[in-house]
């Protein structure tokens, strides 16, 4: 509910940030990069466990990744889940991508950009 009115502000902030860096092209490419990282078997390999729109041969160990923005309006929550989900759930199967350095901070950030489009 609260996510909705906040969305335009987020966009605005994103647009400003993007504008400061390299123009709107960058935000676009972060999403594309994020998708690539998420699907890449040597990197995120998120499809091993999650159904994700646009990905082939998904596994069923984790929940389908969809409506992410309404479920996790705060991107920091998503960063935290990818960085080390064992903090939230010690028994989870999800690998601690940040803690175990499977993904860098920038890579996690790009994946979060992509997740927010789902």
């Amino acid at each position: 509910m609260t996510a909705f009115p906040r969305t335009p502000v987020l966009y605005l902030l994103l647009a400003i940030a993007a504008g400061l860096a390299a123009g709107p092209v960058r935000a676009q490419s972060a999403v594309a990069d994020g998708q690539k990282l998420a699907f890449d078997r040597g990197k995120g390999n998120c499809l091993t466990c999650h159904v994700i729109k646009g990905g082939d041969l998904p596994g069923t160990i984790g929940p389908e990744l969809k409506d992410i923005k309404s479920k996790y309006p705060d991107r920091n929550e998503l960063v935290a889940i990818i960085f080390d989900e064992t903090k939230r759930n010690p028994q989870t199967m999800m690998p601690p991508f940040g803690r175990n350095r499977i993904l860098t901070e920038q890579e996690i950030s790009a994946i979060v950009d992509f997740l927010q489009t789902l």
């Binding site: 091993t48 596994g59 064992t86 010690p90 199967m93």
Partner: protein
Amino acid sequence: MKARFFLLLGSVSAALVAFALTSPRVIAADKVDPAADAKAFQDFFFQKFPTVKHDDFVNGPYSMNEDMKRQWQEKEEFPPYEFALDAGKEMFATPFKNGKTYADCFPNGGIGIRQNYPYFDEKEGKVVTLELALNRCREANGEAPYSYVKDEMASLTAYMAFTSRGKPMDIKIPDDPRALAAFENGKRYFYTRRGQMNFSCASCHVQSPGERIRAEILAPALGILNAMPIYRSEWSGMGTTSRRFVTCNSQTRAVPLEPQADEYRDVEYFLSYVANGLPISGPGARP
């Protein structure tokens, strides 16, 4: 790590405590109790999958998925492991250069004994697997040992498993502190997370059997060795228990051990003991 380990073992520990409290024998609270562990382990799977017939767990991924099971049953008319079985039978009957045969190394001439492996050797103080015993037999007769992960070893174990098909797994733990320690060590290895992905064997085969990991359906840990060795299309050939352990470790970016390293022998002891009573189904075929 410890806390997580015990969380996962929750049901097993609870059963252990319950057993300790109700057992007529006086046992210390921390005593290793394989029989109670095995019961808790089996009950966990029986309760998690109430519609799977108990003897069916030995069919790995096929026990978890009806469609796959049907395809597999059709394939069983011309099983892809047949060539290995024939080769193994012939190898088994062919004398070594010194005139002896494999039959001379094993109880009952090696026929119908797969369900007793691995066993704890009280002289050596360690677990002896069937693969290890086969290579020791070769070396004792002046022959070079086979690779633990390749076709010859798979053929021999395929034949020996086949002669035991349907016999219930029957692993003994002698009253020897070293045997209990081996069991406990195997259990610890099985439940400990490792590698960059932070998986334990249990993450995949206790927490997630029946789930798809990419395109593969995960086999349940209960009876997971009863079908070994297995043919896999992905391997375009046969694989031994050693090969499967090494593959599961390396595919999850954990450092694999040497085949037949003490810890792998102990894991095999643990997994086989908790499958006691379930039939040998090997050799198996996987998609």
